[in-house]
């Protein structure tokens, strides 16, 4: 599943480690989500969307195939 995490993070000048710390996950998890290798569970997807002040659909696109 594609997502806009990389762009949203870069807009705020956050590193993956910073974002991971705010979400209470490991940097590996953040990296795997960003690169589309791993789709987060619903609670984490909600946490990510809320952190950026968006809806889940604004961050994740289930219809776009992972590149």
């Amino acid at each position: 599943m594609k997502n806009r995490l990389r762009v949203l993070r870069a807009e705020r000048n956050w590193t993956q480690a910073t974002l991971a710390e705010q979400l209470d996950v490991s940097r590996q998890t953040m990296n795997a989500i960003e690169t589309g290798k791993y789709d987060p569970a619903l609670p984490l997807a909600f946490k990510i969307a809320r952190l950026f002040g968006m809806t889940i659909e604004d961050v994740f696109d289930p219809d776009a195939p992972t590149s």
Partner: protein, 150 residues
């Protein structure tokens, strides 16, 4: 315009994967408890084995208690691992589950498959050998899953 060309979203290097692969600080703490219980289990097993082998008569009926003692630490290790797994970072939990699936599968395939090899003339193996294959599969499965999600 946001520059995302040179940031960290590329595949992580092996070293970065190993460093980040152990989850959050809470995960590392829970892992340490599991390792501590496992070491205690191994240590009591070695001591109990040595005493039962060399001083069997001296311990008398206490030998039964001594033989059962390592299991207390083994149960502690199992409970510590369950706690670690339940509270683990969600990707780390998936990596652990893939490791367990590969380890368990490898162990079962080897144990059942080797029965036929024994009938074909291969030397008989001890239970320890099957445990080694199972644990080896568990570690290999964790490494493969860590590499997959790097």
């Amino acid at each position: 315009m946001v520059n995302t060309q040179n940031d960290e979203s590329q595949r992580m290097t092996l070293w970065q994967t190993i460093c980040a692969g152990s989850g959050t600080a809470a995960d590392r703490r829970n892992q340490l408890w599991f390792v501590a219980w496992t070491f205690a289990w191994a240590a009591t097993f070695v001591v109990a084995s040595w005493v039962l082998k060399n001083h069997r008569e001296a311990v008398g009926v206490g030998g039964w208690a001594l033989a059962l003692l390592p299991n207390i630490f083994a149960i502690g290790a199992m409970l510590a691992y369950l706690k670690f797994l339940r509270n683990a970072d969600e990707l780390l939990r998936r990596i652990q589950l893939e490791g367990l699936a590969i380890g368990f599968g490898t162990g079962i395939i080897f144990a059942i498959g080797y029965q036929l090899l024994e009938r074909a003339g291969a030397p008989a193996l001890a239970v320890d050998d099957f445990m080694l294959v199972l644990c080896g599969g568990w570690v290999a499965g964790q490494l493969a899953a860590t590499w997959r999600y790097r």
